[in-house]
Symmetry: C2
Subunit: 329 residues, 2 copies
């Protein structure tokens, strides 16, 4: 049975009513690359923007196996039980390559996904790098219009995904685990300095002592790094997503962060800055997309790259030639 | 007396002959924004590219007061004495704001600037951010064609300048000093992970013990960070640019770096990658320049920014509107 396409009004009403089926359809609309859908999506977003609730946006990153999903489920379920409405999204710029390893399997968050206050959206399947990020931002807005007040954005620590997610959330959390040897060496360049809180997960059973030691190591290194958020001292905590120990404390950190940064104005200023950055990111992406999808440019790329790699053509000249091909359409 | 403008042939011959007056004029040509000069500069670079010597490009960064200039002078003079030909350039993306604080006063490198094997070029005066970087890369090529085999690029630790310089050099050096309190806390985000060597300068007199302690602190933190160059362990050294202690050892590190990375192929691969990145940086810069200098776009910016900051216009819509203004010329 082919589903009838909803009108903008129907999307609008459904989302504002918190209807999760309509919300999911609206996200699909926003993710669509069809020009007709894009116009409709823009109109929908324009109407919904003034109705967005005041949600807190939390980015969650960490290496595969650190237990991000389990942690999100544990935290999300507690928040839902207390009356929060929690949306879980995934940003995975690498999904094109890896086939989408995060949130792909909804059963990984089984209990949370059944909760009436929760909404889980796996990462878009066939995404372009910039595209996924753009859609994630729009998806956040849709969720906020639908009344979700906690947005959890999961990302895997691959490529530029942390920087992308950092640029669209209020609070950024790094989930790690303790292992054999030098734990901190597995952490990606610069990632700690994007972070508002480091969480050493799986602090339970025989692992407890080591987890506490790892936490102390992080605290020591953090001492030498600049915090990600003005006026906020990035710290390290331990928790266990399976036993639930330390999960409430994580949320207390988030609440404290919100209080402190709202009072100082840092919260609002970051949001405004993020929105402006978003505009310019979209513009740049589109300019590049137009350029590199131009037939005359596309056909010239392989020979240009070869020449530059071999040193037979100066990079300045190569750029000039590409730009000339574009202007002579 | 108005100087006659040189022909491309005259530039070419003069630069290849190592004539420093012509080299300085060629750099001015490359830095010029006049279209006529740009075409000529491109033609000159095209001719000179195959004649570039095999130089090592070294970036030197650090906070103001760390003694970068004194260190460059001490190292540069020794290298010149041993027959190397040393060019010193400055990349200062912030010169527009600060008025150009680095290398602005040639007398700061008095003895080096008088050396027949040295060439010192202060930072371009009225630079745009991307512009200065582009010209610095071209300036490096000109110096290499003129027979300089050591290129030292000085940058102040402001904004994106370290990332820019890292993307155009083989070896990146961070110059620091020891001070009262927690020395490492003054280091900018992520800077250590761009670095191939940390130099604790001013390790002399009463400061010697503290400098060694600071060096040990750095070594410890470096242990937890990923090195900037594949197969190369970033270390920390002490030196004194005024007494000369440790300066020869710095050069030994550079030589060892060159040997190791050349053997592994990392050196060449980085150069190739840097050249390709350069092409795409130039293209993106020009696309953005064309866009944001377009009258219809320019006039729309203030109202757009106001609306986005106040939350009355969705960032996606703002981007779309700007792009539409550009396409309807």
């Amino acid at each position: 049975v082919k589903r009838r396409e909803l009108s903008v009004e129907e999307y609008q009403e459904g989302v504002l009513a918190g209807d999760r089926v309509v919300l999911a359809q609206a996200i699909t609309l926003v993710e669509s690359n069809a020009l007709r859908h894009q116009d409709k999506a823009q109109e929908l977003l324009r109407r919904l923007l003034p109705r967005c609730r005041d949600a807190i946006r939390i980015g969650v990153t960490g290496v595969p196996g650190a237990g991000k999903s389990t942690l999100i489920e544990a935290l999300g379920t507690r928040l839902c039980d207390r009356g929060h409405r929690v949306a879980v999204l995934a940003v995975d710029p690498s999904s094109r390559v890896t086939g989408g390893s995060i949130l792909g399997d909804k059963t990984r968050m089984e209990s949370l996904s059944r909760h009436s206050n929760a909404f889980i959206r796996p990462s878009p399947s066939g995404g372009v790098l910039g595209g996924v990020a753009r859609k994630s931002r729009e998806t956040m807005l849709l969720c906020e219009a639908a009344g979700f007040d906690v947005i959890l954005v999961e990302t895997v620590g691959v490529g530029q995904s942390e920087v992308t997610v950092r640029s669209m959330v209020d609070f950024f959390m790094l989930v790690t685990i303790t292992g054999a040897g030098d734990d901190l060496q597995g952490i990606k360049k610069g990632i700690m300095e994007l972070t508002d809180l480091i969480v050493v997960n799986k602090a339970d059973g025989a692992n407890l002592i080591r987890a506490n030691a790892t936490r102390a190591d992080y605290e020591q290194v953090l001492h030498y790094l600049q915090p990600a958020t003005e006026g906020w001292l990035t710290g390290a905590r331990t928790c266990s997503a399976t036993t639930g120990n330390g999960i409430d404390e994580l949320w207390q950190v988030v609440e404290q962060f919100k209080r402190v940064t709202r009072e100082s104005g840092v919260f609002t200023r970051r949001r405004q800055k993020q929105n402006l950055e978003w505009v310019y990111t979209l513009v740049r992406e589109q300019l590049e997309k137009n350029f590199f999808s131009h037939p005359a440019v596309k056909t010239a790329i392989p020979a240009m790259e070869k020449g530059v790699m071999e040193g037979t053509i100066a990079p300045t000249m190569a750029a000039l030639q590409l730009l000339k091909r574009y202007s002579v359409e």
